[in-house]
Amino acid sequence: MKEQLEKIEVLAKEELGKCSAIKALEELKIKYLGKKGELTAILKQMGKLSAEERPVIGQLANKVRTDIEEAVNSKLAALKADAQAAQIKEESIDITLPGKFAPFGKFHPLTKVENEIREIFMGMGFEIADGPEIDDDYHVFEALNLPPDHPARDTQDTFYIEGTNETNLLRTQTSSVQVHVMETQKPPIRIISPGRVFRSDAVDATHSPLFHQIEGLVIDKGITMSDLKGTLEMLMKKLYGNDCKLRFRPHHFPFTEPSCEVDISCFNCGGEGCSMCKDEGYIELLGAGMVHPKVLENCGIDSNEYSGFAFGLGLERMVMGRYDINDLRLLYENDVRFLEQF
């Protein structure tokens, strides 16, 4: 019987060595270890053995069973690992095929840059004020120290509203929001106001009868021209990086005194002079100044107690500079092939 057991173990292991499929392995397991398996058949004959032989053979039989079981299990693990490796290999995909998109839209480039500027000013404590696009002469001109017959009105190419005797008009500048804010808010005031403005300019690559400005207004006790410079420098450094330089040039606006135009070092040459900046090294960016005392007084703010600064920048120019867009018309044509680039 001992020989029989030993033979079974040898045979089982021999057969196991030839086994290469999981199914065959399971059949083998049943053949040797199952209830009707060969080992069981031998063990059924245990009763015929003597009392001395029984524990020896029993022990041996258990060992044979354990050995076969272990061999089968380890073979099974190896076969499973092989099968999985094969399957994983088979599942290879082309990882350069494009991804599957959920639909996602795009912000208009005007919105993108406007949002950026809004955020910078919010960080500096500026609130966002809105004002009417169709406004009146008082808010757009007169209260801003541009009385009737002021020569500077010529430069504004105003659209007037029919039937209002030229009292109502499309605002030519967001500066009108300054007046609306000062009518409804006590100082300290710290606002920006982005919005649409309108001038009677025919459409071409750099002109549009509708464009966007961002107005800024600060009124408080002790506001200086240094504050104006510091604020605008902060804005431009945040927008264009720490290397950009600003240049302040005296200018004239009826609603500020002193007034200035602000140029930024050329994005292309950094101030050396190139074809983009017409050899100037600088590009005109915005107009600014200290709020004219008459404007404060017109709005009922004591100019001896309060001072302030204001500025207005053209959004289109900043958008075009930022994205190298050379034709303003693209912004209002809204071709999806243009919009999808932002």
Binding site: P132, F159, L210, P258, C299, R337
Partner: protein, 818 residues
């Protein structure tokens, strides 16, 4: 204003480089647009003398000349010029010369070598106005003093530099050479040399020759006049012509040139009349009579009104004051006696008249901004000084001066401390006084006294600006912002921000369109004749019809962009815009409570209300292509509403609602108005086939418009968490047969009403019409999920709920599908 640098150097020694000059003046406030070095497009052209001129052997029309160009040997030039002869001095473009129109190279002409070319005026970029003696058609025969071989530019005075300034409207004093010389001197801290003009004159009593009366001393505050007799009309000398040319003014004759010269030099417009045509030898400065007519120098007859000012003789107007002379009173070739006028006209008067007549001139451009009130007599004298210098006639040594000007100078408090605190600087008082002095201001007894040419000085901020610009804006320190920052978006701004972000995350491309549109859109979207959307804000002076009315609907703008994209062969588009409509209001707004007064001035707000239109914001969505249908855009709108926390809206047929007149732009059976508690929030639908065709879009197109204020009003303002369920849900499926026209919303409403509180969700999973279904009916299938928070639902509870549901469904004609 174009400035001749040669002229400038009469008054200030400006010998710095031109680049340095332009930069420095720009930075002190006189912005240089550009500069032009005269003759920079000409090189290698010299003065030559024609030694001999002979016939070309092979061509009748050509001549062969030997020309002395100051070199060792003469050069040979072939020309077709008939107006030159032996001994003439001519400009010779040598081999390799550059001219405005191109390069010159030696060549063979009909077999004879030519080593250059003779130049005419036009080849040098000149006209007969520059050299009146020269033949404008032929070669320029030079009559100037010059040497052989001399560069042509210095020989004929083409060596000036002209600087173009952009002068702002507050500084008319800088529309003059002396004004800019003053700015130059102040910028560089150089001495300014302006001498008072003097003339000798001949004895004569002007009062016996001419009488002047000002009838409106408010509009004409000063009128100076003088007379030149025995005038010799002719071209002015070369130096004057050169300076006029560099200033962009065409030389005419000595008298006209003198008036222009003085205007350019001092900024004071001058006028010269022929005394013969001043009837009664009487000048009246008066208001025009309504309907009075004058033919101005530009050859146009103009009808005047009584608010305009004219210079008139006893019978007729001879000039529109400060703007332009009459055609028949100007200087002619046979003029013998000239009257010079130097006057001060009130700016608004000139400006209004100029605007009304649509007539502008160099004179009106200066008068309407404001010339120096006190300079009229100086300029008259300067004109006479020039008349004598040019030998153009005899000046009568007495003059007329009708003077009603207020000579009180503008005075402003001088407070160095305040200026520093306003600018954020630390400039010493003595430096400030120095800067102001250079600009012509005096500081006395704590006051700054403005010179009479500075019409823009009114307040201490003006003085701060003068100090700042000479000190240098870029020398002012920059300070970081101080103070407490407390800013946040308003509720509207937050709402719009979320709306925009959501529209983008749902696949919308944001667009930007014009606020003004063509009135043709009314018909393009088939609005009825009495639609309120046809009541628009119109622009009085539009660029064209396409941009002539403020839109009352954003939908046509969206259709335009969809059409543009479709016609650019973009396969699909899903667009949105958040922008305004402009709706006229019937009357002024009613301000009450805290709103009734302006906060800073305390004035009644009502007085500052000019009845402006409403400008409500809209979100407009449009799409075509990409297999989209009504339910695609509806899905986008539903998700948008859900994200904006607007729940339980109802979709009713657009044809059953009067809320949106744009329903005519939509397919009547594929459009809806979105309702919430009786308020119309928006309209959505497929574009009507007619409208689609009008807009030239060749595929099904969908649009939606939602009113932002209404959306905001019904948006929930907070989110409340509902506890996660503890007990399982029970699900029942229902397949129903119902009349085709019964909307699924009605079925869902019935189910919801019947099942009640335990209803968790009703999900439509199939709609079927076809063979197995009786025609005119449809099959709809729902999965109904029920759940209780108190315990697991029993089958009995679920079945009983279903029974109630079926009963309610039966009431609307829906039956279980067999």
């Amino acid at each position: 204003m174009n400035l001749s640098m040669k002229w400038l150097n009469d008054y200030v020694k400006a010998d710095m480089s031109i680049k340095d000059y332009c930069h420095a003046l720009t930075m002190s406030g006189s912005k240089v647009e550009s500069y032009e070095v005269e003759g920079s497009s000409i090189s290698n052209v010299v003065v030559g003398k024609i030694l001999s001129k002979g016939q070309h052997e092979n061509a009748d029309a050509l001549f062969v000349c030997q020309v002395d160009i100051g070199a060792d040997a003469p050069i040979q030039i072939v020309t077709n010029a008939k107006n030159v002869k032996e001994g003439d001095l001519v400009p010779v473009a040598l081999d390799g010369a550059v001219l405005p129109e191109g390069k010159i190279k030696k060549c063979k002409m009909r077999g004879v070598e030519s080593f250059g070319m003779f130049c005419g005026l036009d080849t040098l970029g000149l006209t007969a106005h520059d050299f009146p003696y020269a033949d404008p058609e032929g070669v320029f025969v030079i009559e100037e003093e010059c040497t052989l071989g001399q560069d042509i530019k210095s020989a004929i005075g083409l060596d000036d530099t002209s600087v173009e300034f952009e002068i702002t409207s507050n500084r008319p004093d800088c529309l003059s050479v002396i004004g800019l010389a003053r700015e130059t001197a102040a910028t560089y801290n150089l001495p300014l040399n302006v001498k008072a003009p003097e003339f000798k004159g001949v004895d004569g009593d002007i009062n016996s020759m001419l009488k002047v009366d000002i009838h409106n001393t408010e509009k004409c505050q000063r009128y100076c006049a003088g007379i030149v007799k025995n005038v010799k009309i002719g071209p002015s000398p070369r130096w004057m012509r050169e300076r006029l040319r560099a200033s962009g003014v065409r030389p005419i004759n000595n008298f006209v040139d003198i008036t222009n010269y003085v205007m350019l030099e001092y900024g004071q417009p001058m006028h010269a009349f022929d005394l013969r045509y001043v009837e009664g030898a009487h000048i009246n400065v008066r208001n025009a009579v309504n309907g009075e007519k004058i033919m101005t120098l530009d050859g146009v007859e103009r009808e005047l009104t009584d608010d305009m000012l004219v210079i008139a003789d006893d019978k007729k107007p001879v000039a529109v004051a400060g703007i332009m002379g009459g055609e028949y009173s100007g200087i002619m070739d046979d003029t013998t006696t000239v009257v010079f006028e130097s006057a001060y006209f009130e700016p608004t008067q000139v400006r209004r008249t100029s605007k009304a007549l649509r007539l502008k001139s160099d004179a009106s451009a200066r008068y309407e901004k404001g010339v120096d009130r006190l300079i009229s007599m100086t300029c008259l004298k300067r004109a006479f000084e020039l008349v004598e210098e040019l030998g153009a006639g005899e000046v009568i040594n007495t003059v007329i001066d009708c003077d009603y000007t207020d000579k009180t100078p503008a005075e402003v408090e001088f407070n160095a401390e305040w200026i520093n605190s306003f600018l954020g600087t630390d400039i010493s008082e003595s430096d400030m006084i120095n800067y102001l002095g250079r600009l012509g201001f005096k500081v006395e007894n704590g006051k700054v006294i403005a010179p009479s040419f500075r019409i823009d000085i009114e307040c201490k901020a003006d003085i701060a600006e003068e100090v700042a610009r000479i000190y240098g804006y870029n020398n002012i320190p920059s300070t970081d912002f101080r103070g407490v920052a407390k800013a946040e978006f308003t509720e509207v701004q937050k709402f719009v921000r979320t709306l925009r972000n959501t529209a983008v995350s749902l696949g919308g491309y944001e667009i930007a369109t014009y606020s003004f549109v063509s009135p043709k859109y009314f018909d393009k979207i088939k609005l009825p004749a009495d639609s309120r959307l046809r009541n628009v804000v119109k622009i009085q002076n539009p660029l064209g019809e396409d941009t002539s009315v403020m839109r009352t609907s954003t939908i046509p703008s969206m259709l335009d962009v969809l059409s543009f994209n479709y016609n650019n062969r973009n396969e699909k588009a899903c667009l949105f815009e958040i922008a305004k409509e402009y709706l006229p209001v019937a009357e002024k707004r009613n301000y009450q409570g805290d709103d009734a007064l302006l906060v800073n001035s305390g004035k009644p707000r009502h007085e500052y209300d000019y009845q402006l239109p409403d400008e409500p914001q809209r979100i407009t969505i449009g799409m075509y292509g990409g297999n989209c249908d009504f339910y695609t855009i509806k899905g986008m709108v539903e998700q948008l509403l859900d994200e904006m926390k607007i729940y339980d809206v109802e979709y009713i047929r657009a044809t059953d609602s009067d809320a949106f007149d744009e329903k005519t732009a939509m397919h009547p059976y594929r459009s809806a108005v979105i309702m919430k508690d009786g308020t119309a929030l928006g309209i959505i639908g497929e574009v009507h086939p007619d409208v689609q065709e009008t807009y030239e879009i060749g595929t099904k197109t969908y649009v939606a418009k939602l009113n932002v204020p209404e959306l905001m009003a019904c948006a929930e303002d907070k989110i409340t968490y509902s506890p996660l369920p503890k007990f399982p849900a029970t699900t029942r499926d229902l397949s129903l047969i119902v009349d085709d026209e019964v909307p699924v919303a009605a079925i869902e409403k019935a189910i919801k009403g019947a099942v009640g509180k335990i209803l968790e969700k009703v999900t439509l999973f199939d709609v079927y019409k076809g063979q197995q279904i009786e025609s005119g009916k449809k099959s709809v299938s729902y999965s109904i999920s029920m759940r209780s928070h108190d315990g697991t639902l029993t089958d009995e509870q679920a079945d009983s709920a279903m029974k109630k549901a079926l009963k309610a469904l039966a009431a609307i004609g829906a039956e279980l599908r067999a």
